[in-house]
Amino acid sequence: MTRPRLLFAGLAALVAALFLASLLTGPAGVGPGESLAALFGGGDDLLGLVMRELRLPRAILGLLVGAALGMAGAVLQGFLRNPLAEPGLIGTSASAALGAVLAIQTGLSAAFPLGLPLAALAGAGLSVLLVLALAGPRGGTLALILAGIAISALAGAATSLVLNLSPNPFAINEIVFWMMGSLADRSMLHVWIAAPFMMLGFALLWPLRRGLEALTLGEDAAASSGVNLGRLRLMLVAGIAALIGGATAVAGTVGFVGLVVPHVLRRAVGASPARLVPASALGGAATVLAADIAVRLIAPGRDLKLGVLTALVGAPFFLHLILKTRREGL
C-alpha cells in the first residue's frame, strides 16, 4: 500500500517542481527570486505583467492540458482494454481541432467566447462516438487504429481546407499549430475559457475508476458486479470530449502523451486502472510541463511546437508497442 502512495507523492512533487520551473523559464533571463516576487505583486511593474499575464497562464495550461491528455489516455486504454488507444491516435484531438478552427473562422468564438471550447468539445465527442461505433465495443486493435487514422486524416484535411479559405493571409500558418500544438503567448483568457471544460472532464471521468477496475475482468463480470455499462460509456464519451475539447481549443493537438504516460506508469501502480487514472493525470501534467520547458530552452524565440517533442519521444514508443502487441498475438 505504501508503494502507490510513494509514487503519488513523487509525481505530485515532480509536477510542482516542473510548474515552478515553467514559471521561471523564459527569454527574459530574470532571476528566480525577482520573478517570484513580481508574480505576487511586488517589484517592477513590467516584470509583474510578464509573470502574471504570460508565464502564469502558460504554466497553468501546461499543467491542465497535460493532466487532461494523460487521464484521457488512461481511461480510454482501460475502457477499450487496448494499449494503443489514445486521443491523438484515434482522431479525437484532430476532430477537436477541426471544431475549434470552424468556431474561429465562422466568427462563432468572437461572438461568444465559450463557442470555441464548445465547438472543440462537439468535434471531440462526435469523433469518440464514431470510433466506438466503428471499432465496436471491444475495440479490436486493427479496427480501432484504422478508424483513428481515417478520422484524423479527414479532420486534418478539413482543418487545412478551412484555414486555406480564410481571407487572412496569415491563417494558413496556423495549420502547424493545430497539428502540433503550442502554449506560446497564451493568456489568462485562454485559461478561463478552457479550464471549466477540463474540470468538468476530470469530474466526469474520476468516478469511472471503479467501473474500469471491474472491466478488467470482462464485460459480463463487470455487469454482474453492478457496473452500468451504458452509463459508463456515456460518461466516458462526455468526459473525454470535455477534456480533449478544452485542451485542444487552447493548445492545439499534442500527440502521444496519453499513449506513453499510462504505459510508463502501469507497472508502478500494479496494473490497476483505478490507480492508473490519477497517476496518468499527474504524469501527463509533468510530461507536458517538461516538454514546454524544453521547447523554450532548445529553440528560444522560434516557437518550436510541443507536438514535435512529444512525437519524437512518442512515435518510437508507439512502434515498440505495435511490435509487442504483435508478439502477444493480439
Binding site: P27, A28, L46, L49, L54, F170, L189
Partner: protein, 278 residues
Amino acid sequence: MVGRLFLAAGLLLAGLALPAAAEAPRRVLSMNLCTDQLALMLAAPGQMVSVSYLAQDPTASAMAVEAGRLPVNHGLAEEIFLAQPDLVLAGAWSTPETVRLLERLGIAVEVFPIETDIAGIRANIRRMGEVLGREPQARAMLARFDADLARLTDGQDPRPRAALYMANGYSAGRDSLAGQIVDLAGFDNVADELGLPSGGVLALESLLLSDPDLLIEGRRYDGHARAQEMLEHPALRALSRGKPAQVISDPDWICGNPHILRAVAELRDARLALRDAP
C-alpha cells in the same frame, strides 16, 4: 512548335543585335510589386503593358489606382511570353525558374535587388531610369527624394525607442527596410538592442521588458489568424495603454521607393508628439 522556336531564336538574335542603350523599350512588363511601382512612377505614357496583380491590391500597393489602368500578370512565363514584352522587370524574389525560362525564350529580363536602405533605393531608381530610357525623370525623382528626406530627418534628438511588432511576433531592425524607416524617423529600435537587426521573432516577454516609448504594430487583415491574435494579448494591451501606438500601413512599408517617406513622416510626427507630451 517550330514556329515558336524560330520566334524564340529571332527574339534572341534581335536581343543580341541591339546594343543595350540604343533605344528605350516600348513594351515593358513588370512581374514584381516593387518594380511595378518604381516603373509606374518613371515610365513614359504607354510604355508599360502590364504590372503584377499585387500592384492593384490596395492592401499591398501604394499605387493601386495607377496600376488599375493596366492589365495584370501573375508572374507566369506563359502569360508573360504571350504579352510579347521587349523588357521584363523582375525582383530578386521573383521565381528564378520563370526568369531563366523567359531569358531562354529570348526576352530581356532586368532583375532588381531588394532595397533595404537609402543607398539601395537610390541605386534602383537610377537603374530603373536607365533601363526604361528615362534618365532625366529618374534624376528629377532622386533630387526630390533627397530633398524630402533631408527635410524629414533634421534635428533628431532626443531619439526615443520604438519597437516593431507584427504578425507572428515578427520584428525587424536596422538591416531591414522597416528598420530603416524607424531609424530615419528618429527612433532607436528595440530590435537592434535585442540582436535582431535583419528581423526575427521577438518574444512577447522580451518586448514587454524592453519597455519601448512607441509601439509600431503590424496591420490587421480581415478574418481571423492566430498570427494576429497575439497583437490582442492582454499583456501587450497593458503595455500600450496610455502610450502612443502606430499601425504599419503596408503599402508604404513594403517596397523601397519614395513612398516610404510617407511612413517616415508619419512616424516623425509621432516622435514630435512624444517629445511635446509632458
